[in-house]
C-alpha cells in the first residue's frame, strides 16, 4: 500500500513541456507574476498618447472633484405590472442550436437580459449549461451586429425589401419556383418546418438545401424514398459500465454535451469505497476533454479510427460475438494496433454485455451505423443506448439529391439559379474547399442573405437582412428527444432585426406577419383540443411542452445494400503510414468559437482552450515527435498546404496528439466577424475537402521562418512542484481511501494569530470533484457573465493578465508524447488564514464572519501585495480601465448587482456574494434560515457535470458538508495552514487491471 502512495507522490505533474524541461523561459514567467515591462510605454508614440490621455483624464478628474455629480432617476412612464425595479425577473425560453435546442432561464433586470442559465425542466440542459449558452449573453449585445437592411451595401428599409420580394414571387409563382433556391442551416423549429413545407408547396421546382459546417449525424430511416426522418442515438453514459468512444468528444464538442457530461459524471462520481464506477476507453487523434477523462486512451489518426473499429469487430468475432460484419472485416490477419489494448477492451465490453456502450460522433459520419450494429450485438440497444426518431431539416424538406450546397454551386455556375436566399449561417466563410460558394455566388442573379452580422456572406450578397437574436424574437424549437419548446423575446430587437420565422414567412408566402402570430398559428395545431390560451400560457411559462416521453423508437440497424457499402468503406483498412512528408490534418470543432459563429465574442476568444490553453488564436497543434521531425518549435509559423489550399499558422506542441497529425481548430480566420474576431488565426475550412470530412491526408508543411507567439495561459499561476492535483486508481483508492488527505506530511498546523470562532451562523464552503470535472470551461464563462469580468485582449494575456476569477488548470502526467491529463478548476480558495489579508496595507481585503475573504474595491490602492502573497494565484489586477471604452450596448450585459471595477483595483472570486446576500435577505424576510441549495454560485449553476457544490459547512446536513466528509476530500496546500474553505475531491481513475502500467503502442 505504501508503495502505491509513494508512486503517486513521485508522479510528476506538468502544465507544459517548457515546465517539464524547466526551460529558462518558464522559470522567468513563473517567478515574475506581473511582468513589469509595459510594451505600451516602451513605444514612444503610444507613450506620448498615453500621457496625453492621462493628462486629459486628470484634468477632468480635477473638475469633477469640485462638485457632487448630479445623478438622474428615470422612472417608467407606466410601469409594467410584473416589473419591480431592483428585483430581477426570470423567463423561460429555448436556444436553437443546429438540430438541437437548449432550454434556458434568462435573468432580466428591468427588461434587460443579463444572465443565462439552463432550464431545470428541459431535457437538454437539466438546469445546467455550456460555454455557448453563456456566450449568447454577450452575442446579444454585440455592437457589431448589423443594424439595417442593406441593398448592394446601401442602407434601405424593410418595406423596400418586401416590395422587391413580392415582385420576385410574382415571377416565381408563374414558373413554379424555377431558378429559386433557399440555402439554410439545420434547424429544429416546428414553425420553420411548417413554413419550409409551405414554400415547397408554393414553389414545386424551387430548391431547398441544408448546409451546416458542423453537421449532426442521423441514422437512416430505412425508407430511402420519401424519407422524412432519421434516428439519433441517445447515449446513457450513466447506465454504462464500460464506454468506448471512437473519436467522439461527447463531453464537449458533440451535440447534447450538457446532458452527456451530467450522465457521464453520474456514472463516475463515487461516494464510497464500494461505489461502482464506469470505465472509459477513448480512441482519438487529438487530446480532447473526453480524452482527458479516459481511463485508457489510444491516439490514432482520424483516418484510421475505422480501421481500429475493424480491429474491434475482428476481435469480437473471434470471441464469438455475432456482429454480422465478419465478411466485411475478414477474420484472419493481424491488426496494427496495440494487441493488449484491443483484446482487453473487447473482453471488457463482452463481459459487460448490455451495460457497455460504443459511441461515435460527428467526426466519424461513416461509423454511426457501425456503432449501432455493435451496440445491438452487445445487447446495449434499449439499455445504454436508445434512439429518437427525429425529423431532420434535410430529410424532410429536401426533395432531390442535388438540393445541397454542391447542387447550388453547380446550378449557379450553370446559370439556372437566379435567386438564392441564404437563411442564416455563413456559408461563404465556412463552405468546404470543394464547393467554393464565394466564386459561384458572383454570377447569381439575386442573393439575399439573412444573418446577424455584415459578415463574409453578407458582403457578397445583394440584399442583407439583419436577423434578431433569439432573445429578441418569437419562435420555437424541438430538442433532440422531441421536446417542443418556445422562444419568447426578453427585449425588443436592439438593432431592428427580423426573426427567422418572420423572414422565412415572407420568403415562402409573401406575407409580412408578426413572429408572434406565426408561432401561435403553428402551436394552435400542436396544442389542439381544450383551452388553447390556457395551454399556451403554460408552455410559455415553462418554456417547453411538458409531456411524458417514453423512450421512444426502436432502431434496428440493417446491414444490407447501401448501408453495407457505408460500413465496408468505414471499416476499410488504411494502408499508408503517415510521416513528416504526409501529414494528416484534422479539423477540430472549436470548443470556443464552434464553427466561427462565436468569433466576435470576447469571452470566447479569451477562453483558454481546454487542452492547448490557447486564447485569441488557433494554432497547428502537433505532438513533440511530429514537431521534431518537422524541425519546428512552439510559435514557429508554418505553412500547411494540401490539394485545396494553404494556410499559415503558428506551431503549438500539444502532448497526446497522434504523431504526424496536425490538429487545427475551425472557426478562426474570419475576415468580417467584427471588431473582436476579424483577422484572428487562420481559416481551416479552406483546406477541408468536403462538408462532412473531419480530416484531410496528404498535407505538406513548410517553414516560413517567421514567429508568432500564441497567447497560452498554460503556465500562468503555476504552483511549482507542490502536490496540487491528487489522483489514484480505483483499486488504490479502495485499499487506501484516505490517500489524498495524507499525501503530504506536515508539522502540526499552528497559527500565530489566535483562532477565530467560525462555529456560528452560516459558514460558506465549496467542494469541487476532480473526478467529475470534464474541463469544459462553462464555469469560467458563467462567472465572467455573472461577475462583470472584463476581456483584456491577446497582448495582455501574453503578459499573464487575464481576469478570469475561476480558471480551469490542466496538468499532464506521464509520457510527454502520450500523457494523462487532469483538470482542476481553481477559484479563490477563501482561506480562513488568508495570506493576502495580512499583507494588505489598507485593509482592502479582510475576512467576514461567514468565512469569506472579501475584497473591498473602493479601498484598494493597487499595491498587488495580496496577489504576490497568494499561493493559489487567483487574484486578478485591473492594469487598465477595461470597461471605460466599452460601447453602451455592451454595458447592458453587465450584472447590476456587481460592482464594475476600474483601473488599479484588485479583484477575485467572491463566492458570488451578491447571490449569497440576495438569498440571505429573502430568507430573513420570511424569518427563516437560508435553505441548503438556495444559494447557487454561477460556476456551480453552470457546471454540467455537477462537479461544484456550494453551501453552509456549519450545517452537517448540507450537501457540501456531506461531500466534504468524503474520504477523498482534500484541501489544496493544506500544509501551509491556510485553512481554505474550498476543497477538492481527489480524481479517481478506473484503469483495467490488465492494462495498468502497460505502455501503449499504435500503428
Amino acid at each position: 500500500m505504501k508503495d502505491a502512495r509513494i508512486e503517486m507522490m513521485d508522479r510528476e505533474y506538468w502544465r507544459s513541456l517548457d515546465q517539464l524541461a524547466d526551460t529558462p523561459e518558464f522559470r522567468r514567467f513563473v517567478e515574475q507574476e506581473f511582468p513589469e515591462s509595459l510594451p505600451e510605454l516602451d513605444n514612444p508614440i503610444s507613450r506620448r498618447k498615453f500621457l496625453s490621455v492621462m493628462g486629459a483624464s486628470m484634468a477632468l478628474a480635477g473638475l469633477a472633484g469640485c462638485r457632487k455629480p448630479v445623478e438622474k432617476i428615470i422612472p417608467y412612464v407606466s410601469q409594467p405590472e410584473e416589473v419591480i425595479p431592483g428585483v430581477p425577473s426570470y423567463y423561460a425560453t429555448t436556444m436553437p442550436f443546429g438540430a438541437s435546442a437548449f432550454g434556458l432561464i434568462v435573468e432580466c433586470h428591468e427588461g434587460r437580459p443579463t444572465k443565462i442559465e439552463g432550464n431545470p425542466q428541459h431535457p437538454s440542459t437539466l438546469g445546467r449549461s455550456n460555454v455557448f449558452m453563456q456566450a449568447e449573453m454577450l452575442n446579444l449585445y454585440d455592437p457589431d451586429r448589423s443594424d439595417g437592411i442593406l441593398h448592394n451595401n446601401v442602407k434601405t428599409g424593410w418595406d423596400a425589401f418586401v416590395t422587391f420580394w413580392r415582385e420576385q414571387l410574382m415571377h416565381f409563382r408563374q414558373n413554379d419556383g424555377n431558378g429559386l433556391a433557399i440555402l439554410t442551416q439545420e434547424f429544429s423549429s416546428p414553425t420553420l418546418f411548417r413554413l419550409g413545407r409551405k414554400f415547397r408547396r408554393n414553389f414545386g421546382s424551387a430548391g431547398f438545401a441544408v448546409y451546416d459546417p458542423v453537421e449532426d449525424i442521423y441514422l437512416p430511416d430505412g425508407k430511402s424514398d420519401g424519407q422524412t426522418a432519421g434516428y439519433r442515438a441517445d447515449y446513457h453514459y450513466d447506465k454504462a459500465k464500460i464506454i468506448l468512444s471512437l473519436d467522439a468528444d461527447f463531453l464537449l464538442t458533440e451535440s447534447e454535451n450538457v446532458v452527456a457530461a451530467r450522465r457521464f459524471a453520474a456514472g463516475r462520481r463515487i461516494k464510497d469505497v464500494d461505489s461502482p464506477m464506469s470505465r472509459l476507453y477513448v480512441v482519438e487523434p487529438e487530446l480532447t476533454a473526453t480524452g482527458a477523462m479516459a481511463d485508457h486512451r489510444l491516439r490514432v489518426p482520424r483516418s484510421m479510427i475505422g480501421t481500429f473499429a475493424a480491429a474491434v469487430v475482428k476481435e469480437m468475432e473471434r470471441l464469438r460475438i455475432n456482429t454480422g460484419l465478419s465478411d466485411l472485416v475478414g477474420l484472419s490477419g493481424d491488426h496494427q494496433f496495440d494487441n493488449t489494448f484491443v483484446s482487453v477492451l473487447v473482453e471488457d465490453l463482452i463481459q459487460h454485455k448490455g451495460e457497455c456502450l460504443i459511441v461515435t460522433g460527428r467526426t466519424q459520419p461513416g461509423l454511426q451505423e457501425l456503432a449501432a450494429v455493435l451496440n445491438k450485438a452487445l445487447g446495449n440497444s434499449g439499455k445504454t443506448v436508445t434512439y429518437n426518431r427525429v425529423e431532420s431539416t434535410a430529410s424532410s424538406l429536401q426533395q432531390h439529391d442535388d438540393e445541397s450546397l454542391e447542387g447550388i454551386v453547380k446550378s449557379v455556375q450553370a446559370g439556372t439559379l437566379k435567386t438564392l436566399v441564404i437563411l442564416g449561417g455563413n456559408p461563404i466563410y465556412d463552405c468546404p474547399a470543394s464547393n467554393d460558394l464565394a466564386d459561384a455566388i458572383e454570377s447569381a442573379g439575386h442573393v439575399i442573405y439573412f444573418g446577424s452580422h455584415v459578415n463574409e456572406t453578407a458582403q457578397a450578397a445583394e440584399w442583407h437582412i439583419p436577423s434578431a437574436h433569439f432573445l429578441e424574437s418569437w419562435g420555437d424549437t424541438r430538442a433532440v428527444d422531441g421536446t417542443l419548446g418556445l422562444i419568447q423575446p426578453m427585449i425588443q430587437p436592439l438593432f431592428g432585426g427580423k426573426s427567422d420565422i418572420e423572414f422565412l414567412g415572407l420568403i415562402a408566402t409573401g406575407e409580412d406577419r408578426r413572429g408572434y402570430d406565426i408561432v401561435r398559428e403553428t402551436w394552435s395545431d400542436i396544442l389542439k383540443g381544450g383551452d388553447f390560451e390556457k395551454k399556451w400560457r403554460r408552455v410559455l411559462h415553462d418554456g417547453m411542452l411538458s409531456q411524458d416521453r417514453k423512450s421512444t423508437a426502436e432502431y434496428k440497424p440493417k446491414i444490407e445494400k447501401d448501408n453495407r457499402q457505408i460500413l465496408a468503406k468505414a471499416l476499410a483498412t488504411i494502408p499508408t503510414k503517415l510521416s513528416s512528408e504526409d501529414i494528416e490534418l484534422t479539423f477540430q470543432v472549436s470548443p470556443k468559437l464552434y464553427d466561427g459563429r462565436y468569433a466576435n465574442n470576447g469571452w470566447m476568444q479569451e477562453l483558454p482552450h481546454p487542452t492547448s490553453k490557447l486564447t485569441w488564436d488557433n494554432a497547428a497543434c502537433m505532438s513533440q515527435t511530429t514537431a521534431r521531425s518537422l524541425g519546428v518549435q512552439n510559435s514557429d509559423v508554418i505553412k500547411i498546404t494540401n490539394d485545396h489550399g494553404e494556410m499559415e499558422l503558428p506551431v503549438w506542441i500539444v502532448p497526446g496528439q497522434a504523431d504526424y497529425t496536425i490538429s487545427v481548430e475551425l472557426g478562426y480566420g474570419r475576415t468580417a466577424a467584427g471588431r473582436v474576431g476579424s483577422g484572428i488565426g487562420a481559416n481551416a475550412f479552406k483546406l477541408r475537402p468536403d462538408r462532412q470530412s473531419s480530416f484531410a491526408r496528404g498535407a505538406k508543411v513548410t517553414k516560413t521562418g517567421r514567429r508568432h507567439k500564441p497567447a497560452s495561459t498554460q503556465d500562468h499561476g503555476a504552483m511549482a512542484g507542490r502536490p496540487i492535483v491528487r489522483e489514484a486508481d480505483l483499486d488504490t483508492y479502495r485499499e487506501d481511501p484516505d490517500f489524498a488527505k495524507e499525501m503530504v506530511e506536515h508539522a502540526p498546523l499552528i497559527g500565530i494569530y489566535p483562532p477565530y470562532d467560525y462555529s456560528k451562523g452560516y459558514q460558506w464552503g465549496m467542494a469541487i470533484d476532480l473526478t467529475a470535472c470534464v474541463g469544459c470551461n462553462a464555469c469560467t464563462t458563467a462567472c465572467q457573465s455573472e461577475n462583470n469580468i472584463p476581456v483584456v485582449g491577446r497582448s495582455r494575456v501574453l503578459n499573464g493578465r487575464e481576469m478570469h476569477w475561476i480558471r480551469v488548470d490542466r496538468y499532464f502526467t506521464g509520457d510527454p508524447d502520450d500523457p494523462d491529463m487532469v483538470f482542476m478548476p481553481v477559484p479563490c480558495q477563501q482561506c480562513e488564514n488568508a495570506p493576502c489579508e495580512t499583507v494588505c496595507p489598507v485593509a482592502a481585503t479582510v475576512h467576514d464572519k461567514e468565512g469569506l475573504n472579501v475584497m473591498t474595491y473602493n479601498r484598494c490602492i493597487g499595491t498587488r501585495y495580496c496577489s504576490n502573497n497568494c499561493p493559489y494565484k487567483v487574484r486578478r489586477f485591473n492594469f487598465f480601465n477595461y470597461t471605460s471604452h466599452m460601447p453602451d450596448v455592451v454595458r447592458m450585459a453587465m450584472n447590476p448587482d456587481v460592482t464594475v471595477r476600474c483601473r488599479g483595483v484588485m479583484e477575485k472570486c467572491s463566492y458570488c456574494i451578491q447571490r449569497i446576500n440576495r438569498a440571505k435577505i429573502n430568507a430573513k424576510k420570511e424569518n427563516r434560515t437560508v435553505r441548503d441549495g438556495e444559494i447557487v454560485t454561477a460556476c456551480q449553476q453552470a457546471c454540467p457535470a455537477e462537479a461544484i457544490v456550494f453551501g453552509n459547512i456549519n450545517d452537517p446536513e448540507s450537501k457540501v458538508s456531506k461531500i466534504k466528509a468524503l474520504k477523498r476530500n482534500y484541501a489544496l496546500l493544506a500544509e501551509y495552514n491556510l485553512r481554505p474553505r474550498n476543497s477538492y475531491l481527489a480524481r479517481i481513475r478506473n484503469p483495467h487491471p490488465k492494462l495498468k502500467g502497460h505502455k501503449l503502442t499504435h500503428g
Partner: protein
C-alpha cells in the same frame, strides 16, 4: 565672531513648531469638518424638474409613502413612481395646473420625467430598502421628516460610519411595523425593551462586514 542672529531668534524654533502643529491641526480639522458628508451632503437640495411638494401630498393630504414608492417593501430599490401614478389623480385633480405641465407632457409623449437623485449612495454600496423596513427602520430615520419638506433635502450624512453606527446598535432606530411611515412617531419610554424583544424575535443581526454592503 559676532553673532549673526539676535538672541530672540532662539525661540523661533519653538514658535515655528507651534505654528506648524496648529496649521497641521487646522488643515486636518478643515478637511475633517468640511470634507465629511455631514458638511458636503447634508442639506443637499437639488431643484427638481417638477415642483412636487412632499409636504402637500404626504403631509397635508396624508398620502402614505408607499402609495407612490410602492416597491419599497419588496425590492432593494424604493421606486420613484411612474408618471402613471401622478396621472391617476391629476387626470381629475388640477388637470390644467401649470406646475404639472411636464407631467402631462411626459404622459402624452411617453417620455419619462428625469428626477434628480437626492439620496445618493456610491455605486459600490448596495443598500436594500426592503430588509430595513422588515427589521423596523422607518423612513424618517434616513430620509428625515419628508412630510414637512417642500423640496426633498438630504438630512443625514449617509456615510459609511453613519450606517455602521446603526448596524452596531440598531435598537434605538427600530419601531413597530405599523409606524414605519409615520414621520411624527417618537420612541416610547419602553423603547429599549421593545427593541430587545424585536431583535430577539426577528433575529436582527445587521452585518458589519464589508461583504454586507459591498460586492
Amino acid at each position: 565672531m559676532a553673532q549673526i542672529f539676535p538672541e530672540w531668534t532662539n525661540k523661533l524654533q519653538t514658535y515655528a513648531a507651534v505654528v506648524v502643529v496648529v496649521l497641521f491641526m487646522a488643515v486636518i480639522g478643515f478637511f475633517w469638518y468640511y470634507g465629511s458628508p455631514k458638511f458636503t451632503d447634508v442639506g443637499y437640495r437639488p431643484e427638481q424638474p417638477v415642483p412636487y411638494s412632499h409636504k402637500l401630498h404626504a403631509g397635508d393630504l396624508g398620502l402614505d409613502c408607499r402609495y407612490c414608492h410602492s416597491t419599497v417593501e419588496f425590492s432593494p430599490v424604493a421606486n420613484v413612481p411612474p408618471t402613471q401614478t401622478c396621472m391617476n389623480c391629476h387626470k381629475l385633480i388640477l388637470p390644467q395646473s401649470e406646475k404639472l405641465l411636464l407631467v402631462r407632457e411626459s404622459w402624452a409623449a411617453k417620455t419619462p420625467i428625469q428626477w434628480v437623485r437626492v439620496h445618493m449612495l456610491p455605486q459600490y454600496a448596495y443598500f436594500n430598502h426592503s430588509i430595513h423596513l422588515w427589521a423596523g427602520v422607518g423612513c424618517v430615520t434616513c430620509h428625515g421628516n419628508v412630510r414637512r419638506m417642500e423640496e426633498v433635502t438630504q438630512m443625514q450624512p449617509l456615510s459609511m460610519g453613519w450606517c455602521l453606527d446603526c448596524h452596531r446598535n440598531p435598537g434605538p432606530n427600530l419601531r413597530p411595523h405599523e409606524e414605519l411611515t409615520n414621520m411624527e412617531w417618537t420612541p416610547p419610554d419602553d423603547q429599549a425593551e421593545f427593541a430587545e424583544r424585536v431583535i430577539r424575535e426577528k433575529k436582527i443581526n445587521p452585518p458589519v462586514d464589508c461583504s454586507g454592503c459591498h460586492r
